[in-house]
Symmetry: C2
Subunit: 268 residues, 2 copies
């Protein structure tokens, strides 16, 4: 693992960093493919928007780009970028003059969720719910305890992902992915304006569908809607679009949208 | 600042610690008064219960006690204890064999909220809401971004605290305190079973009231209930009970419960 903290090689951060103390920061997980950071512009845009919403000074995009290139020594790897508000004394109050902390770390390309079931992924529903907060909705902030607890609900290596509901019982996303459903001719994905993360691959799918003249919408989605769908897939920055074959032991509809999207993605 | 990380003097932690990566941990803020950690048993009980709920191995109480004594070199100071699930590779999945990280840090005794207004504290309502999650409710976990944003809403040094509502508009707590209201003969505090932290000083007040034969209950509380109350005060481990004199510019009822409780607390 190569790590740069504020541009310098390091393996540790200040114990008073507000990322640790309060989850006061954001992150991005970027796929390096053939030596290029995939959808980098989308990652940088989301990070900048998140910093803006939290009142954290956004890191310079050119600096980040250089640090990503410097840490990613393998052509195919994963780069995680963390930006925190920086260090401060004790207390929630965000300091006005904090210098943000920038962590860029490269990891080997992983075995991806779903690779063990090439015929289509198996998913489950999680019991752990996602809480709603309009001020935090969509952000990839550092408070991920709900996802940790949800991912801790199963050990079966053949289950690729768990889907999460909000406290009202509506579908939101997977523990580490967004969710898409083909219903008739329409591509639908749950809204992320109350909870959930606005994934970069989710954005790429929505824009790709739109360019193809396909109707694509954000909706309120119920768990049972998945069983009636023509096709279900989940997305994230590493897996692209992962077709879902089975949910809670029930076989789902199979389509070609995810495969077509991945074909486009391979050329990006 | 004196800091021990897993018992050793340190000023940094591993960049892969899940406390930083995911907010995957808990903390306690303990008042050292005259060389003794106040309500230590309550802090240790809450920490152990939190570890149990998150599936983190709870640190040994005797070890923690020694580390608190070792860092707290001043008779009056604040000790913050953080316990995280420890370091792991990338990914939300909680590792089964992680070694938890234990951080014990001592800070000078601070200027407390409300000290600038000895005649009774001034409070405000915050716009930032608290999200609800029954699995996390009551825990003092590391994901405190809602409190950070709420505390960032005001700069006026004379405002001691901001009160926070849940997404349904019901009162929960302050950014760093719990809330009590005297209504008739009854002492009331908002439930923390959907969001909010079950504060140790909150517990101490409830038990103290019970010992005095006073009716004390957890209830659903509306913002407007405060203006009709005979007395309002907020509590935390450092301030004890802080009488509230003014809320959003309106003068509140004044009573003697907070003062009586603090008299008892001074002898603990």
């Amino acid at each position: 693992m190569n790590v740069l903290v504020n541009g310098e090689p390091a393996t540790t951060i200040d114990v008073m960093d507000r990322g640790l103390q309060y989850g006061d920061g954001l992150f991005e997980t970027i796929a390096m493919r053939k030596g290029r950071p995939r959808l980098l512009a989308y990652h940088l845009e989301r990070l900048a928007e998140g910093c803006n919403r939290l009142g954290i000074a956004s890191p310079d995009a050119a600096v980040l780009g250089r640090e990503i290139a410097k840490t990613a020594t393998a052509p195919d790897c994963v780069v995680k970028v963390i930006v925190t508000r920086g260090s401060s004394g004790r207390g929630y109050r965000p300091p006005t003059n904090a210098a943000p902390t920038r962590i860029v770390a490269a990891f080997p390309w992983p075995v991806l969720a779903g690779e063990r079931t090439p015929d289509g992924a198996r998913l489950r529903f999680c019991d752990t719910r996602l809480s709603s907060n309009t001020r935090l909705a969509g952000l990839k902030h550092l408070g991920r305890l709900e996802q940790v607890l949800a991912r801790g609900e199963w050990d079966d290596e053949d289950i690729a992902e768990g889907l999460m509901l909000d406290e009202a019982g509506m579908l939101v996303c997977g523990t580490q992915s967004n969710l898409f459903v083909l219903a008739g001719e329409e591509l639908l994905t749950p809204r992320v304006d109350r909870c959930g993360v606005a994934g970069v691959m989710r954005r790429a799918v929505l824009e790709w569908a739109s360019r193809r003249g396909m109707a694509a919408r954000e909706v309120a989605m119920r768990p049972q809607d998945l069983f009636a769908a023509a096709e279900v897939f989940v997305t994230n920055a590493l897996i692209g679009a992962l077709p879902v074959r089975e949910l809670d032991g029930r076989v789902l509809g199979r389509g070609t949208i995810a495969v077509e999207f991945n074909r486009w993605l391979a050329q990006v």
